[in-house]
């Protein structure tokens, strides 16, 4: 099982000091946070993509390329890549390039984006959100798998004899997750392709996401990719920790109360009761996170939202120390207990390469060893 963090990339005033970081400070802080993720033993860093203030990450592969050069192990991902308003040709090129630079430590999460004006800014219509996501991804899928593509669709200029370069590393396209917070169509799409499905699991009660993931698992089996239990599921989560839970609550409350997404609404206590948000001791975070498996089944990737709502960099780095040192080691151990043998790990470049080669040349032990090294 993989553990990591995902960043929305908001530039938000720290409500306790009244200070708002500059875009430059925030960008560098996000980079520092990503490097810290590897230092404390996490597996994944994922960045959001936005094209409007107060968010800075408009150019994810530039950010992830920088992180790739400074890390060794960390898997670089997105949360999410806008499959609706980006040109699928450019996504194919950018992420294949990143894949080469990062030696395969790359996957992506597709999302539609929920900011209305972004669609017209990029020449699209939000009412076509799902058709765009479906058509654009179908093209992206093809571009990574066929060397020469002839293609015609509704939303993009046709392609004749087009080759997306560079070709994916080792001929293995990056693994793709599909993120959705409300659309069964996207769960269906993920199931159809045998891709992963990610539920952000942050802002709403868990019951809603349980229904989407159940649908995804069943349809994954329907399309013959494995049993429902073998479907590739990722979950978000949101935590704030201090050794003493009272300290965590006291320190986080002003950030919660003023948070752009849910602030100025329900109390911290109500929101914790209604959603997976956990503010407390590392042990409380461990206990709450372990419950996710009971609701969603054994899963492959757990990402935490740690740097948002104006939390200062120093605090976020302290949070990552707690996550890496006290929480994740226990979660790794506990999640492994009772995990059925058939439940796969999250796909990586190495595992996908091995699977692809096993399909082409069933017996090649030396290669398998090399790949799994």
């Amino acid at each position: 099982m993989q553990f990591g963090i995902f960043s929305v990339g908001d530039v938000t005033m720290d409500p306790t000091t009244g200070r708002t970081p500059t875009e430059g400070e925030r960008i560098k802080a996000i980079m520092r946070i990503a490097l810290k993720a590897e230092e404390v033993g996490l597996d994944v860093f994922a960045t959001g993509e936005h094209h409007n203030p107060p968010f800075v990450p408009s150019s994810p592969t530039t950010m992830l390329g920088y992180i790739a050069a400074k890390t060794e192990r960390l898997v670089l991902s997105t949360a999410t890549t806008l499959i609706t308003t980006n040109d699928p040709v450019k996504i194919a090129e950018d992420y294949a390039m990143l894949q080469h630079l990062a030696d395969g430590r790359v996957d992506l999460m597709m999302g539609r984006g929920n900011t209305g004006p972004v669609y017209p800014w990029f020449g699209q219509d939000i009412r076509q959100g799902i058709p765009l996501a479906v058509e654009n991804y179908a093209l992206l899928h093809k571009l990574w798998r066929e060397d020469v593509v002839d293609w015609e669709g509704r939303f993009r200029t046709p392609l004749q004899g087009f080759t997306s370069t560079p070709r994916p590393l080792d001929g293995v396209p990056p693994f793709v997750w599909h993120g959705s917070i409300r659309s069964p169509e996207i769960a269906e799409q993920a199931a159809y392709y045998g891709d992963g499905f990610f539920a952000n699991n942050i802002f709403w009660p868990k019951e809603h996401f349980v229904r989407l993931i159940t649908l995804y698992r069943q349809r994954y089996a329907h399309y013959g990719h494995g049993t429902p239990e073998q479907a590739i599921v990722g979950l978000g989560g949101q935590v704030f920790m201090r050794e003493k839970s009272q300290d965590a609550i006291r320190e986080f409350r002003p950030y919660f109360d003023n948070a752009p997404v849910y602030g100025h609404g329900p109390s911290l206590e109500d929101f914790m009761a209604e959603t997976p948000l956990t503010v407390g001791s590392p042990q409380q975070v461990i206990d709450r996170t372990l419950q996710f498996r009971e609701y969603f089944g054994d899963y492959q990737r757990q990402l935490f939202l740690m740097d948002h709502a104006g939390l200062p960099l120093k605090t976020v780095l302290e949070q990552l120390d707690l996550l890496g040192e006290e929480v994740v080691p226990v979660l790794r151990k506990e999640f492994a207990i009772g995990r059925p043998a058939g439940v796969p790990d999250a796909p990586t470049h190495a595992s996908r390469l091995a699977a692809a080669r096993a399909k082409d040349a069933p017996v090649d032990d030396a290669l398998e060893k090399e790949v799994n090294r």
């Binding site: 649908l215 069943q218 100025h264």
Partner: protein, 237 residues
Amino acid sequence: MKLVVVTAGLTQPSSTRLLADRLARAAAERLGGASEPVVVELRDLAVEIAGAFVTGFPNARLRAAIDAVTGADGLIAVTPVFTASYSGLFKSFFDVLDPKALAGKPVLIAATGGTPRHSLVLEHAMRPLFAYLRAVVTPTAVYAATEDWGGGGDAYADGLADRIDRAAAELADLMRRTAPAAGRPAAVEAGGAATGETGGPAVSGASSGPAGCRDAGADLDEVVPFQEYLASIRPSR
């Protein structure tokens, strides 16, 4: 049959609640008084309703009220008139409902105000709101001005008691005509086999899942198989 009353009065006691109770009693009597009407006091849910706007989902208390309204066989909705319309709290409650939650549901609309001059709020604001929600609204809507509590009708209109009776009779009649003999779950049509060959019971949950997430209440049963969907958006040549 389940009769639910939504009342948006703010004071304690409130004339809006008084009107709501009179309407509920009259309708319950017409229905044979089998079950006690459920009353949803929006004042008690004001913070929860505001919270649902901020977070995008109703909390447990508000969800219970939404479930009651969605599952009702008939609804009585009563608001005070504020600033030439229904009150903001009243509208906000209906804003957090799923837009389809009231489709086909018999509804009696009523309002209170300090002066009879505002009575057309029922026809020019309330009725269009419920028309948009595709509810079936009784022909008689009941407006109670302060003076109505002290007098009868006049040469031009029935008194409050008569109007309450007429509206209650219309509601009871509609409820008897639209509700099936046995009590029905709110989303019974949604429990089909749309998940295809593997369709298991776990996703037929439109009626068992948490009702009333404004955006989160996806109809998971209505998934179009992917290839079908892909074909439907392919440009025709």
